[in-house]
Symmetry: C2
Subunit: 419 residues, 2 copies
Amino acid sequence: MTEQNSPKAEAFLADWAVHSRFGAVEGTGGVERQAASAADGEQRKWFTRLLESHGFTVQRDAVGNQFGLLELVPGAPYVLTGSHMDSQPTAGRFDGAYGVMASAHACFRVADELRASGEQPRFNLAVVNWFNEEGSRFKPSMMGSSVFTGKLPLMDALATPDPHGVTVKDALDAIGERGGFEGLDVASYAEIHVQQGRSMEQDGITIGLVNATWGARKFEFRITGEQAHSGSTLMADRRDALLGAARLIVAARELVDEFEPGALHTACGEINVYPNSPVVVASEVQLLFDLRSSSSDVLTAAYARVMETVERVQREDRVQIEVVAEHSWDQNPYPEAGLELAREVAQQLGLTHDRVMTVAGHDSTNMKDEVPTVMLFVPSVDGISHNLKEFTREEDLLAGVDHLTGVVRRLAGGALVAD
Amino acid sequence: MTEQNSPKAEAFLADWAVHSRFGAVEGTGGVERQAASAADGEQRKWFTRLLESHGFTVQRDAVGNQFGLLELVPGAPYVLTGSHMDSQPTAGRFDGAYGVMASAHACFRVADELRASGEQPRFNLAVVNWFNEEGSRFKPSMMGSSVFTGKLPLMDALATPDPHGVTVKDALDAIGERGGFEGLDVASYAEIHVQQGRSMEQDGITIGLVNATWGARKFEFRITGEQAHSGSTLMADRRDALLGAARLIVAARELVDEFEPGALHTACGEINVYPNSPVVVASEVQLLFDLRSSSSDVLTAAYARVMETVERVQREDRVQIEVVAEHSWDQNPYPEAGLELAREVAQQLGLTHDRVMTVAGHDSTNMKDEVPTVMLFVPSVDGISHNLKEFTREEDLLAGVDHLTGVVRRLAGGALVAD
């Protein structure tokens, strides 16, 4: 049972409406709120006031992760729940942001219940807004949770420049969001997100129990040619780095058709060209290139084919191609105990539910390696993602908050954590 | 006979050495001196002082063309000679810059001779440094001479933004190079440039008599797709603008092989991608795409094939492709009278010479439609162009100045212009 007309539902929807105004793109339902942008900074200030008005203490760590803490059991570890409020350029208002707001309201509700009942939980409650999950302004993605879990050194993260040379450190200082908080003792973690796909909508599922992340191999290629006049230089004399990159982009798409339908996703979303002048053959191109699959065999085979293409392009187009950065993860399960807990909550609430995989990475991908973790989805209309037109229906948003509240309540009581 | 050890030769080489220091890229022989950059501004100030020290009056027009005027015959029209001092990013020090300095020294020499002989010429002398020939920072190329010859409205030129949104007007004001000079009465025009090809070097030719410009068809394509998550969106659901652009880049190269070797040059040197994020399918790409040939039949056939590719990519990759700007010119002869004059001067000086075509456009391409024009080349080692390693030997630089001096002397006396 969702509680669509309850005061709790109305409170969530009211805060959600304000939340979606930060970085709103006029005339669309979407937002532009990249990490440590002015809009991100303003939203964080508002979110701080919201959390404080519910009795939470707000802290920021050295990489700008924003925590709202409610200590109910002095000295006890925390149930942590959250997602990220940063967005891609001209993106949807739900991606990440919904998860943070759902987490805040789940904690508000559980705290109210505990106050009303006088019951003593086992763990305290914390909401998190992870810094730079999107990775559009600063690479890599999932930066805040990667630093929090020790997978990325803090110093490397802070020194990362955006395309204009502004570092994470300076960008966080500019919005006053680099803090000194450290050492949160996390007992368990829960995250909810809109699905970035259409399977739940097609199957009529309200709550997705995320059981695994697709594997990914991500490369940053540097293609090196030689600057030349793009009119007068003989074609045979050219070493065109942009042509080399274009061959890789086309090969990425064609590779998909060598596998079963749906087995492999490939993408090149970012390219940077030097000197990028209309009458100069490009001498250097940086190209981001991704392979994703739920099967590690497919990923291995696809990787081998990409390297064959690299060899061929180097030879035929006389360019040099190097892998200058690489970021990979295996097909990666979420713990069964968390899935079972989420299933029980859905059943109790009468919400349709099923196991789903996530193709996209989430901050929970980092957290699940450290603590018991629950990852949840609500449906997204037509699976539109990283687009101003991203949309999730109100009843699904509310069902997700209800469900996450049930999960947080159990986690606060000690579920998934041995005594 | 070149005059390699003469005081005149030494004077040229001394000024040339200073000239090449503006915007010099440390540790290379090349320069970075894009239109209206700080380096361009500093060089213009120095060039003003050089011209004034030789008795010239310096004026700037409303689009930043810089003129050095020497009035020898009050009220008479001017022989104009020059080229451009702006460069591509990380480019050679000879392209354009050599032509301006050779022109200045040719005028200095002719003026000295006239003063020494007491002879009265028919026309006055003027040197020009055309604004933004390269078109790398502000499009289109040949901007200054296009405005001067009425082919491009001044207002359009001044409103043109660079990639950071700075307009030509503001950029010229920032370096103090937007002036009020107008109405130069030009009798004839001469320009010298390094060849941007290797044919003269191969054939052992010192002076190239430029008899025609290759035809060109240049397009700015806008490829429109739809933003989507580049990991989770089903491949079949994607409308990837960067993939569409990559197909065009590859097709441009493959098109060359459908024609006789050397008959067609194609290029894509500039691409701009939105949102250009590693995890977003691109929704919009701007791509510059050039076809060049000495044959208008080849250009027509190549254009038809490009449009077939555009249709196919639109259909198969479900993107929209529009031509948002187009800039074309036909294979285009230089006047025979100018070629004959230049041949006579080369013969008189004992310099090897031959007719050559230019693939690249030059400011003389604009001027030759207005006044009698002579266009000259000196060789370039390996034809390397728009590259820090561009190089022309000293003896060829000096031979070019000697030759241009002979041409300017005859033009000042009234050659090519009916009484």
